[in-house]
């Protein structure tokens, strides 16, 4: 075990833990935001740069500071390391700049975006961004592409985090979408306008931090803050069948995987559970889902769950 401090809070972690995961162990405000890293995905992280932190002391052995801010998601914690996140004005400055970069070509179409209310970019902009844009340039616009009946792709909203590619690589050996072109022309695409379909393809919706990938089967049905999340399960031959149902009245509007306090899915679910099972009778409802992260959703009130379960029978 090694000990380090993050924003003056000491934490003990196993060797080989990243700074970000050490901070997650502490929890709360000292946790740097992460837009590309995803602990469930191999090879994720390092790209978005919102998790940059300052290392004021590299380790007990080498007390020098690191010369540049480092990506906390991909930098290993060291024994005796001293990390500054929100206690460093330099970090806050840089993070504000990164948010500005991420929003530069973002369409800001939250009013018509299904992700609004549970969007990491929205949260990030509220927490670290500035109120005005300094850009007078036109936002870049990508040609849109139909990737099949289940998943809606909106390239303009994409922040190129690579999570959906990592997910596809991890869950199937038949990935059909990927990162095309480069630089400011880079985009998520299938290149030949192909349907993204396999038993687990829907998970790319859950990992997407923004509204670039949304569920077509629940498109525009409701704003997320008008729906109520419930833990539910079913016998499923393909996945463990544990999901979150997003309901309005007795209607199942959307099915997602349950997410943990870091906003990451607890496990991946199959497309059948996600897209095909939209009747209350398909599910056994376990109880209301408390959403810690996103305030808008957790404001919801719950109706009687027993009643719901009864009604479906």
């Amino acid at each position: 075990m090694i000990k380090l401090t993050i924003d003056n809070i000491e934490v003990e972690v196993e060797e080989g833990t990243t700074i970000l995961n050490a901070a997650r162990k502490i929890g709360g405000k000292v946790v740097p935001p992460a837009m590309c890293y995803y602990s469930k995905l191999d090879c994720s992280g390092g790209k978005c740069r919102v998790c940059l932190v300052k290392v004021a002391q590299s380790s007990a052995k080498d007390p020098r500071p690191m010369p540049k801010l480092v990506a906390s998601c991909s930098t290993m914690a060291q024994d005796g390391m001293v990390v500054q996140n929100i206690t460093s004005p330099e970090v806050l400055e840089a993070r504000k700049a990164i948010v500005e970069f991420l929003l530069l070509n973002h369409p800001l179409d939250c009013p018509v975006c299904d992700q609004a209310g549970e969007c990491d970019l929205q949260d990030l902009a509220y927490s670290f961004g500035s109120e005005n844009t300094r850009s007078r340039e036109e936002r870049s616009v990508h040609k849109q592409e139909d990737i099949g009946p289940y998943i809606q792709l909106n390239k303009n909203r994409c922040i190129l985090c690579y999570r959906c590619i990592n997910t596809a690589n991890q869950l199937t050996d038949q990935r059909v979408h990927g990162m095309l072109f480069r630089g400011d022309h880079a985009e998520i695409s299938t290149y030949i306008e192909k349907s993204v379909e396999n038993d687990f393809s829907g998970n790319i919706i859950d990992v997407c931090p923004v509204g670039a990938l949304t569920d077509k089967t629940s498109r525009f049905k409701s704003r997320v803050w008008f729906t109520k999340p419930y833990d539910a399960h079913r016998e499923c031959p393909k996945c463990n069948g544990k999901v979150v149902l997003w309901m309005k009245g007795n209607e199942v509007l959307r099915v997602t995987a349950p997410k943990d306090k870091n906003g990451e899915v607890e496990h991946f679910i199959c497309n059948e559970c996600r897209f095909e099972k939209k009747e209350v009778s398909d599910w056994k409802i376990d109880g209301p889902r408390t959403i810690e992260r996103t305030s808008v959703i957790s404001l919801n009130h719950y109706t009687n769950i027993d009643k719901l379960n009864k009604e479906e029978k």
């Binding site: 038949q174 979408h177 990927g178 095309l180 072109f181 299938t190």
Partner: protein, 178 residues
């Protein structure tokens, strides 16, 4: 997997070259041969990489088609759409610009009556402005097929264009053969 495209396949000579190149990389690392093979494919199949050609290459190297699309779209030398028989690439970066690259480009636009990025209606010439070709000391510079032409003047360009009007498909040359 995609259905195998039977209409596209390398000539025996190219296939031999391709197999030779694959062997340059350690076993299990055949993917390393992707860029050289895409160069050969582009030259052999009409000067550009159609999705069908890329699928064929993917099949040869046991890659997913998307893996080949991802790579082909990253590198500026791969043409994703049909090009003219002769692709003229004029360097437009700093040092060349200081020495008159702009005039050369304008001259060619006027001569062909097309804009940078376009192909003449007869399909003969495609004009491109590209980034530094590592020949800044002999600016302005252009690359056509596998050849460099340096210290350009408008007269020199005219001569070259006349020459290419007569000869064959400059953009379709195998990079490994002279």
């Amino acid at each position: 997997m995609e259905q195998k495209n039977t209409t596209i396949s390398f000539s025996p000579d190219s296939l031999e070259l391709v197999n030779k190149i694959i062997k340059r990389y350690p076993e299990g690392k055949e993917r390393s041969a992707l860029l050289p093979i895409l160069h050969i494919a582009q030259a052999e199949f009409g000067g550009w990489l159609s999705p069908e050609v890329m699928d064929y290459v993917a099949d040869l190297l046991h890659l997913l088609p998307i893996e080949v699309y991802e790579v082909a779209t990253f590198y500026s030398m791969f043409n994703l759409e049909p090009v003219g028989e002769c692709v003229i690439e004029v360097c437009q970066t700093g040092p060349c610009m200081l020495n008159g690259a702009g005039e050369i480009i304008k001259h060619l636009e006027k001569k062909f009556n097309i804009k940078v990025g376009e192909t003449t209606p007869d399909g003969k010439f495609t004009l491109r402005a590209v980034e530094c070709l590592a020949a800044c000391g002999t600016a302005p510079v252009m690359k056509v097929g596998t050849e460099y032409h340096e210290n350009l003047t408008t007269e020199k360009v005219d001569e070259l264009v006349n020459h290419w009007c007569k000869c064959g498909k400059m953009s379709h040359l195998n990079p490994y053969q002279e």
